[in-house]
């Protein structure tokens, strides 16, 4: 009888051990997924149901979604926060790619002198605890009149994601066979032609993976947003917290807000998953 590839035992493996390992893995996976599942479930509940003893069966409602998305004067609305996030994330990611692609090219394909030091410098900017940098950043933002603007987050998210993007793109570019670039050079392509015709089309999965990570990090960022943009230009993570109230129950409402905040990145990740996995594994195998 033919066995499926997944069910085949490796040489010297025992089925019982495999079954136990599988059960443990599934248990761990479900354990990690459970809070997310409970959040989604709670978002369809009445506040009362969400706050009383855990209920798996209940009559689902979309009222909490209507509650969190309705606009009230003077309060940060979902649409406003969504578009703030959208602009901040889009602009910062585009700028990151525009800066990181040539930087990664220089480090991977035509290494500048002391390229190791340059690379270390890029990553060293991530060593500083975020909280340690907030005071100088806040002062600078105030001096340049950037507090409570989308621009300050665009600049910060660009700076925050740039080292990561340079490192990632560099490893993707290094995978491109040198001969391809040399062939393009001999074939008459200038630097721009080499980038546009040869390097970028091959590195598309890597660039997509890098862009997606930048989007996720920028979309989810909370600390800078809450410190520098508490009033105007607030982003989705801040909007989520506005659903926490000091009076009454808010668990179902907060769950609905959290689900709405998660949907764009989960959707983007799911859509890009094929390319992203290829991109993330690009540097893995020579």
């Amino acid at each position: 009888m033919a066995r499926s590839a997944g069910a085949q035992l490796g040489v010297g493996e025992r089925r019982s051990v495999n079954v136990v390992t599988g059960v443990v893995a599934w248990f761990a996976a479900l354990l990690f997924f459970f809070p997310v599942f409970w959040m989604i479930l709670s978002s369809f509940k009445e506040e009362q149901d969400a706050n009383t003893s855990p209920k798996l069966f209940f009559s689902p409602t979309l009222d909490r979604y209507s509650d969190v998305t309705e606009t009230s004067t003077g309060l940060l609305s979902f649409c406003e926060a969504f578009f703030n996030s959208f602009w901040v994330v889009t602009v910062s990611t585009v700028v990151v790619l525009l800066l990181a692609i040539p930087a990664a090219y220089a480090l991977a394909i035509r290494p500048v002198p002391k390229w190791r030091d340059v690379l270390f410098f890029f990553i060293s900017t991530k060593f500083l605890p975020v909280v340690a940098s907030i005071l100088p950043l806040w002062i600078l933002a105030r001096e340049f009149d950037l507090l409570n603007t989308r621009l300050v987050l665009m600049i910060l998210y660009t700076g925050m994601n740039l080292p990561l993007a340079v490192w990632m793109l560099r490893s993707f570019f290094q995978e491109i066979p040198r001969e391809l670039i040399e062939a393009a050079e001999i074939d008459g392509a200038g630097l721009r032609g080499q980038l546009a015709s040869v390097i970028l089309p091959i590195a598309v999965p890597g660039i997509a993976a890098t862009a997606l990570l930048c989007v996720i990090f920028a979309w989810n960022e909370y600390f800078y947003a809450v410190q520098l943009n508490p009033a105007d230009g607030s982003t989705i993570p801040i909007w989520v917290t506005t659903n926490i109230s000091t009076r009454g129950n808010f668990l179902a409402k907060l769950s609905a807000a959290s689900v709405l905040a998660s949907v764009p990145v989960v959707l983007a990740g799911w859509l890009a998953q094929k390319r992203m996995i290829r991109g993330l594994s690009m540097g893995a195998i020579k």
């Binding site: 066979p177 001969e179 040399e182 062939a183 050079e185 001999i186 074939d187 008459g188 392509a189």
Partner: protein, 365 residues
């Protein structure tokens, strides 16, 4: 079309002390197929890349035709290169790969398509024009790489071990096709290989390099029959030349057999000042079966058409090895005692390497 000339061309890689290519002086004539051959690290690929403009020169110059291209960018040298791994653009179709250079040079689309089609027809690539490289076999990819070079109609073709990724049978077949194509197009070609059979069968002339230094450049016949030095003698020819260190006093003796040599060799030896020489015989000049040298068989390599008989015998109190090329079938197995004689061309070298003389020789006793 144009000639290519290396004029004292030198390349020293940063951080190294020994030049990868040192003071190379070599002229490749218009329409000639020059093969650069040598072991790994000999500088043959570096020399080719210097012509391509992919490696800068530290000293000297390179001319294509009358133009000094030493400081000219690769794309302005009017050359085409075929890489060892073909370097086909994976995201482009065969037609787009072949037309890439023309597109970069702003050749009108109609002309581009026509030229790609014509070359594809010559190389039997027409059915594959819309395919991506990953959907081609190794041989087809190699032809696309060739096609990409041909379609440009450059002054010089540069080929960096273009057949080394093919299987043995396809390599022999493609070798002949490539030589025929080069002869038909009559475009100056610099061809790099580490395979001396490929070098000898394809090259109008062959340049042998060692550690960045040109050892000899000549026709395959001359390299085989008149090697300039011990390195060329040992590198060219398969199996390699049998070499025996001997005293330079006459008569020269190998394995106890005194050699009766040509007068030309005798006079050169007489004027040679050193005490010792190295005597070389090609495998076809080592005859087994009868002769004055008592040997035993180490192993027999039977190729069907001929047999390489590896023997061992005593020479100046030491056991030395030699290879004989004999017609097949050969009767004899490992361990059998066998007599050996020398009859053919002898090459005599200075132990420092340079050839002193070559001439007919045979065992006198």
């Amino acid at each position: 079309m144009a000639s290519v000339q290396f004029a004292s061309a030198t390349r020293l890689y940063p951080g190294t002390h020994h030049p990868a290519v040192s003071q190379l002086d070599l002229e490749i004539r218009d329409g000639e197929l020059m093969v650069l051959v040598g072991p790994s690290g000999s500088g043959k690929s570096t020399a080719l890349r210097m012509v391509a403009g992919l490696e800068p020169l530290d000293e000297g110059a390179i001319f294509i035709g009358d133009r000094d291209v030493s400081g000219v960018r690769p794309r302005d040298r009017d050359i085409a290169m075929v890489f060892q791994n073909y370097a086909l653009y994976p995201q482009l179709t065969v037609a787009e790969n072949m037309g890439f250079a023309l597109k970069q040079h702003k050749v009108p689309k109609e002309e581009r398509v026509a030229r790609v089609r014509e070359v594809a027809r010559v190389l039997d690539l027409e059915p594959f024009l819309d395919r991506k490289p990953k959907h081609l076999s190794g041989g087809q990819r190699q032809r696309v790489a060739m096609g990409r070079a041909i379609v440009r109609e450059p002054q010089v073709y540069l080929m960096d071990e273009p057949l080394s990724n093919l299987d043995a049978k396809l390599r022999v077949q493609t070798r002949a096709e490539l030589a025929e194509l080069q002869a038909r197009l009559a475009v100056t070609t610099v061809y790099v290989t580490h395979d001396q059979v490929e070098a000898m069968t394809m090259g109008h002339r062959v340049a042998v390099l060692r550690e960045g230094v040109l050892q000899q450049s000549d026709t395959p016949y001359a390299l085989y029959h008149e090697p300039a030095n011990l390195f060329v003698a040992g590198f060219i020819g398969s199996p390699a030349m049998n070499l025996f260190p001997c005293p330079s006093g006459q008569p020269i003796g190998v394995g106890g057999c005194a050699l009766d040599v040509d007068t030309g060799v005798t006079s050169h030896l007489a004027s040679f000042g050193g005490d010792r020489v190295v005597v070389g015989f090609r495998p076809e000049a080592v005859r087994v079966g009868e002769g004055p040298v008592a040997a035993h068989i180490r192993t027999v390599e039977d190729l069907g058409s001929e047999a390489f008989v590896h023997v061992a015998f005593d020479h100046e109190g030491e056991m030395v090895f030699a290879v004989s090329k004999m017609p097949a079938p050969f009767k004899g197995v490992t361990g059998d005692p066998i007599d050996v004689r020398f009859a053919g061309t002898v090459h005599v070298f200075d132990p420092a390497g340079a050839r002193i003389a070559s001439g007919a020789a045979r065992c006198a006793t």
